[in-house]
Structures are given as C-alpha cells and as structure tokens.
C-alpha cells in the first residue's frame, strides 16, 4: 500500500530580478525559508530532488547548506523541471523509501525572449538562423488558431493579463506589482500577433523549495499539513501542436496537458468540479485561456463568457492564477512549477493575505507547460 504525502514546509525567494544574487543562492534562500517554515533542519532531509535550466546543478548547493550525505538527485526536464522534482519527491515518499525530503527549483535567465539552443533541442541551425526558433511565435500561433476556432476575443486576452497584474500587485513575492488596465495592455507593442508585450511573461529569476513528509509524520513539522493527492508529468503524443516544431502532423491530438490532467484526476480520485482554485501555465494570456479547457475546467470556447464575467478573478466562481501567474511573477523555468504549488499551499492554509480566495478552499490544482511539449499537474487538498 502506498503512503500518503504531505507538504509540511514551503520557502520562496522573491521572483523578478535580484542583482548580485546567483540563481543558486536564490535556491539556497528558498531552502532555508522552507526549513524554517517546517521547523526542520537541513540535517533532517533524507533526500532532495532539485533543478534549474540555466543556473547550475542543484546538488552543488550542499556546500552552502551542509554536507550531510543525503541522496541528492539533479533534475533537468525543460519547463517541467520543478514539476519533475516534485513528482520524484512525491513518489519517493509514496513508495516508502524515505519519510522526509525536499524538492527545489531555481533559475536565473538573461533578459529578453529565451535564446533557444537549437542543437540542444535536436533542431538544425537553419531553424534558428531563419528566425523560427522563438517560443513566442508558437504561443502567438496557437492562440491565433484557437481564437479562429472557438471565438475568443482580443478583449479576453487583455482581461487575463490585467487580472494577472492585479493579483500580482497583492503578492509581495511577485515581480510585476503594478496593476495595468486592459487598454494599457492592448496598446503595448505587438510582439507576436495577437499577443502584445504585456500579454507575455518574461524569463526571470527566483527559487522555491517544498518539504515533503509521509502523512502520518506530518504533525511533527506542521499543524496545517497540505496533502499532495496527485503529481503527473506527460510528454507530447503524435499529432499535438507544440513549441519549437518545424512541422506538425495533419492529424490532431490534444497534447500533453490533457493527458497529464486526466492522469492526475484519476490518481486523486476527484474531478475538475471538485477543484476550488487553479494555477495554470500562463506563459502568455492566451495560454491561460486554452489551458482552462485543456485541464478540463470548461469546454473549448466557454472561457470567453467565463472571463468576461469575471469568474476567474479571486472572488469569482473559479479563481485562476491567484498569485499573478507567470505574467506577474516571470518565468524562472526551474522554479516556475513549484511557485504554483507554493501559492496553493498558502491558499489552502488560509495564509494568502489580501489575495486569499474566500470560502475556505479545500482543493487546489497546478499545471505547467513548456518546451519541448511537456506538462506537469499537481492536485493538493487540506
């Protein structure tokens, strides 16, 4: 029989730009804050899974945290790096191998759109030299097609971004904390039609650490443990439309988000109707819209009505990206998926302050998506 898993400690280094502090150091600060939250010491950690995309091998941080001999495994799995670290930590406890451990994600990226390493992505140099290797193009093309098929309006994209910055303004850990009006967002420079500058998140910096414990020992570290009910990661199947693809099949497949979501709901034994709030990958405003349906929270096209009616606002029927999402927090790839879980733990504990979802939420959902066509989902409950 598998063991239930609880999150008993959370720590985060502020997202954004922190001059003079390396990505690794931001990860270390997140670890120390998570340990303090759990009332545990580094020496208590039996194992760690950690990773970054651009800020070094996580296991080297033991020289700053203490050489305790713990099992430390580096994770590097594209945009699901943090999610994969959490998945691995979850299953390490679930299987009974260890009782207490930590998942760590951090990063620090150069400014501007991601510079894609075409060779590393298995692509020819011609792809980048011809001006095609930009993740931003994919997002523009996916939402443009989606708007054509399902009648999503430009105004809905602006509303999503405006909500993100409004929620971010209530989040002391967020990068972009200035609310922006729908008009300001719509009028900002068009980066990749139909997406404007303020509809895109930026690569950034930050770190998050989560301490996981077998549920029957959780009371030793926390009087408000939050249970991890599911963690799933899926890669793309034939026919899905993904970032950095020189060609895609004629036939259509729904993609890794749909697969990861179904697997997670099955694991948790609940359905989308049971979820009180969600953090959904919002690399840009359109992604949040599409991911609402891909994760099973509505039908394709229904988002137009839901968002126009304010249902995804913090006080709405189904709050989405309550911490401001990637749009307000930026995207340090290794930490991004764990940032979503951090926010859900705060919300389920009732500790989210001025952005607390009302009515005592009990079930919260996270979803990351990214290169090269990978999705990670978690479901948390009290």
């Amino acid at each position: 029989m598998s063991v239930d898993v609880a999150i008993v400690g959370i720590g985060m280094h502020e997202f954004g730009r922190t001059e003079g502090v390396s990505g690794m150091d931001q990860g270390v600060i997140a670890v120390r804050r998570a340990l303090a939250d759990a009332g545990a010491s580094w020496d208590d950690m039996q194992f760690a899974f950690g990773g970054s995309m651009a800020a070094g091998a996580a296991d080297t941080m033991v020289s700053l945290l203490g050489l305790t001999g713990l099992q430390f495994i580096n994770v590097m799995n594209g945009c699901a790096t943090g999610g994969s670290a959490l998945f691995s930590a979850y299953n390490t406890i679930r299987s009974g191998v260890f009782d207490l451990g930590i998942a760590i994600g951090f990063d620090k990226h150069e400014r501007g759109a991601f510079r894609v390493n075409t060779k590393g992505a298995g692509l020819g140099d011609w792809y980048g030299s011809s001006g095609l290797a930009l993740t931003t193009q994919f997002f523009g093309m996916k939402i443009n097609r989606y708007m054509h098929e399902y009648g999503i309006s430009h105004s809905t994209l602006a509303k999503v971004a405006s909500k993100a910055f409004r929620n971010g303004s209530e989040n002391p850990m967020a990068w972009r904390r200035k609310p922006l009006s729908e008009q300001e967002i719509a009028d900002s420079p068009m980066l990749s039609y139909p997406l404007t500058q303020y509809m895109f998140c930026n690569p950034g910096e930050g770190g998050v650490a989560l301490i996981l414990c077998r549920a029957d020992k959780a009371h030793l570290y926390s009087d408000r443990p939050i249970y991890l009910r599911a963690a799933a990661v899926r890669s793309r199947r034939f026919g899905s439309f993904e970032v950095l693809a020189p060609s895609i099949a004629l036939e259509h497949n729904a993609g890794p988000t749909v697969d990861a979501s179904k697997a997670a709901f099955e694991m948790a034994g609940i359905g989308p109707e049971d979820v009180d709030l969600a953090q959904l990958q919002d690399t840009e405003a359109g992604a949040e819209v599409m991911h609402m349906a891909e994760n099973g929270f509505c039908e394709h096209g229904e988002q137009e009505m839901m968002i126009q009616a304010g249902e995804t606002e913090i006080g709405g029927r189904f709050p989405v990206n309550t911490d401001g999402g990637c749009l307000a927090n930026g995207e340090p790839i290794g930490a991004s998926g764990l940032r979503q879980v951090y926010e859900n733990v705060l919300q389920l504990r009732g500790d989210a302050g001025s952005r607390q979802v009302p009515n005592d939420p009990k079930v919260a959902y996270t979803h990351v998506y990214g290169a090269p066509g990978i999705s990670g989902v978690t479901i948390l409950s009290r």
Binding site: S130, A133, K142, A245
Partner: protein, 141 residues
C-alpha cells in the same frame, strides 16, 4: 554575388520550382519535415527522403514583431532597421504542416485557410559576400 541556401538538405536549390525536403515513413507513410530517420507516428526506423508539395493552405500564423536574438538569428536583428515578418504553419495536403516565414507581414492580409506557395527569400549576407537564402511561403495571388 552568389546565392547560398541557409543549410543543405532543407529545400531544393537552385530550382525554378523549389520544394522542401522531408521524409516519408516506409512503414506507415507518415510525412516529416525536415529529414529524419525515425517515425514519431509508428516508431518505424526506416524513412525515405522526399520533396514535399509546394502549395498548401495557411493553418495558423503570427507576426514576429521584435528582432530575434542573434545568434541564432542570421537576418537583420538591428532594432533600428528590423522589419517584422510573418511566421505560420502551412498545411501541405496529404503530407504535413510545415512552419515557415511568410512573405506577408500585414495582419489584415493573412487569413487562416488562404492558399500559399513556397518561395525562396533572401535572409542575410555571409562573410564571403554571398546572399544567404531561406524558404518562406507567399500568398497565391
């Protein structure tokens, strides 16, 4: 000034009717671009090199509105002189959807479903003074 392709084996050049070079799975007939050795549809390990159709319909599109980072971009990345360019996926009937630059960059003139044809366009000038060319799709007039 000579013209050189951005890479060998991506499109037929020089040619009066240039075409993209892709692969066809010997086992299941799946088409791929660019050339690759294994098939993502049936896991087959045997493919043959084929030239793809030159015409298709626009499946989706965007406009690259800011200069891509150089490297890897070989074209004009100077913010002062950069000109926005279209990017899209063109559905080649019975084959595959391919991603390409578009010769059109006006959102008003791009429509999903419109007919497109492959053309070869200048990209940059290399260190020998030769013109580097790449592929793009142009609306069929």
């Amino acid at each position: 000034m000579a013209q050189v392709p951005v890479a060998e084996g991506v499109f037929t050049w020089p040619s009066d009717a240039p075409a993209l070079i892709g692969s066809r799975c010997v086992a299941c007939g799946n088409h791929m671009f660019p050339v690759q050795s294994g098939c993502p549809k049936c896991s087959g390990d045997s493919t043959e090199t084929v030239t793809l159709g030159r015409r298709g319909t626009l499946w989706t599109w965007t406009i690259q509105g800011f200069p891509p980072k150089a490297p890897p971009y070989a074209g004009d990345a100077d913010p002062k002189t950069f000109r926005a360019f279209g990017v899209g996926y063109v559905e080649l009937p019975g084959e595959v959807k391919v991603e390409a630059r578009l010769t059109e960059s006006d959102p008003e003139k791009l429509k999903i479903g419109m007919e497109m044809e492959l053309v070869i366009v200048p990209l940059s000038t290399d260190e020998n003074g030769d013109e580097v060319v790449t592929f793009a799709f142009a609306p069929v007039a």
